[in-house]
């Protein structure tokens, strides 16, 4: 009787083992599908954006005009032109100014938080910076439009306050918390053993920071700046609302400009689906996708190189 029970039990165990095995397999397949979802989606984005734009690139579009002419007039009745130079310069000038504003402050803040602040202050500052990074871009655009606009007009006595200066500052304030966070991570990733070794040799705190920690974190800091550039380059709402909308090559920071992203956001609603104009906007999308892809790829390679070098050393444990 006891044997039959044992047989029964083992038989049951076998069945459930099989069932469990099948569930395990099914779960594994589903999880794998989820795992590759990011690849599927990034390829999907590329395919969907290019398939609308590509026909235009090889058909109607004059690449020389696209890259060298500042005349973007896709809705012109008899002679639409598709020169994106002014838009590219617009994006570049706003992003450039934003980086001039944001890079020194975010690197400085990252160094302070990571190397000088006491633990309590460090936690507080990190939380503050994280909260600042969460402010939605449309709110930043609104701030540029309503608060910074009159300020710029009054302070510099210019007729329009929606210009490169305004959107550059807004974009800088926006990108700074993100760059601070990434840069701080990079500094924190420098093993404490480096600091201790330098201090044991009699280095002062400043020598430790400037001669040991910063050089060791160089790649991470570079990646932080690159990701900030990528963020500024692709930002839409803030630039749309604060940069003024004027399609020409800016000659000073007080000129209004139109960015690539803002052009898509403004015109897509009016462009008839399938028209040259519509596909020209998707072409701008291809350009944006490719440039941000390159920036992110570079940042990743830069980071990986530093990570690889550090991982090769023992003692770079997580506690650092």
């Amino acid at each position: 009787m006891s044997t039959s029970k044992a047989v029964g039990r083992s038989g049951q165990a076998d069945d459930s083992l099989n069932l469990d095995w099948f569930i395990d397999r099914a779960a594994q397949i589903l999880i794998f599908l989820g795992g590759i979802s990011a690849i599927v989606l990034i390829v999907g984005i590329f395919v969907f954006v290019t398939q609308e734009g590509l026909g235009f690139v090889f058909g109607r579009l004059d690449l020389v005009e696209f890259f060298t002419s500042p005349r973007w007039a896709p809705t012109s009745g008899y002679n639409p032109t598709y020169g994106a130079l002014a838009l590219m310069v617009g994006t570049a000038s706003v992003t450039g100014l934003a980086m001039v504003v944001a890079v020194p402050f975010s690197l400085g803040a990252a160094i302070y938080i990571s190397e000088f602040a006491n633990p309590r202050l460090r936690e507080t500052l990190k939380i503050l910076v994280e909260l600042l990074a969460a402010i939605p871009s449309v709110v930043w655009g609104f701030i540029g439009l309503t608060l910074l606009n009159p300020l710029v007009i009054k302070a510099f006595n210019v007729p329009i306050g929606l210009n490169v200066l305004n959107s550059g500052v807004i974009l800088g304030l926006m990108a700074a918390p993100i760059m601070t966070t990434i840069a701080e991570d990079a500094l924190k990733a420098v093993p404490d053993a480096y600091r201790e070794a330098a201090e044991a040799l009699g280095a002062t705190r400043l020598q430790v920071v400037f001669r040991v920690v910063l050089p060791a974190a160089r790649n991470g800091l570079l990646a932080a700046v690159l990701l900030g550039v990528g963020r500024g380059f692709g930002e839409t709402m803030a630039v749309l609302m604060a940069s003024g909308h004027s399609i020409h090559l800016p000659t000073s920071v007080f000129d209004s400009v139109r960015a690539l992203t803002a052009t898509i956001a403004t015109e897509l609603g009016d462009a008839a689906q399938g028209s040259d104009h519509y596909r020209a906007l998707f072409t701008l999308g291809i350009l944006l996708f490719l440039v941000t892809f390159l920036i992110n790829l570079t940042a990743d390679i830069v980071l990986r190189r530093s990570g690889g070098r550090r991982a090769a050393r023992p003692g770079s444990a997580k506690e650092s």
Binding site: G34, S37, I45, V49, G108, Y112, E235, M237, F282, T292
Partner: protein, 289 residues
Amino acid sequence: MFEATALDAKNQRDERLVKGAFLVMTLLLILPVMLILGVLIWRGAPILSIDFLFTEPTQGMTAGGIFPALIGTVWLVVVALVASVPIGVAAALYLSEYAKDNWLTRLINLAIINLAGVPSIVHALFGVGAFVLFFRFGTSILAASLTLAVMTLPVVIVSTRESLQAVPHAFREACWSMGATRWQTIRRVVLPNSISGILTGIILEVSRTAGETAPIMFTGATMFLPFLPQSVLDQTMAMSLHLYFISTQVPDVPDALPYGVALVLIGMVLAMNALSIAFRIYLRGKKKW
């Protein structure tokens, strides 16, 4: 016994000086934003009331409340979560529990980084091309939410992967040596021990999703609707886009109104974020291992 030499004194002075300079830079990063938030609160607070939250916009969007936009944002966020959380958690499970260190894993990581880096307006183009036109969802909550889901997927993946990896490997080994399958280990050991961390990431995603504007502009959110959405195939108003429209497109909006909308939007987003951070700190304190 030890006396501070002139060099020591100089070093200390230099250190204080540099430390002070970096502190000033940190404050210059934070204080202007605090000031701006202060002005937003000062100008927007007078208009806030229960009525403002729970009535519809009236008189060509120049008066009244924000109820349809608020409800619309809730719709968008919930549908986006339904789509992105299962996929994101699965992706994180794959990366944390199954993936070997090979080219596919590197490719997945690269894809995640790029997915997070693609400009929001390119996500909008993708949403129009894929969800609105190709899958024929039309401009609808479904199309807008899926676009948002794609965009915020990296947030879920990265935060979930972190909390999965925080579960000690010994837990898994103990479970495996009891004869459990990989899935049983995940379901009974890994997930229960990381669920709070995963939730923290999801709250963070909610905050991100609620504030996004560009991706929903052409995929499902609209300027004004006199009724609340009834299904995922309806269009909807949304908080973020409402702020954009009343501050740029609608004429004769009284000054206080957009400040009120901006304040509610920031309040929502920052509250969710703060909740997520508080949760994270609480969990760190409670950690058993």
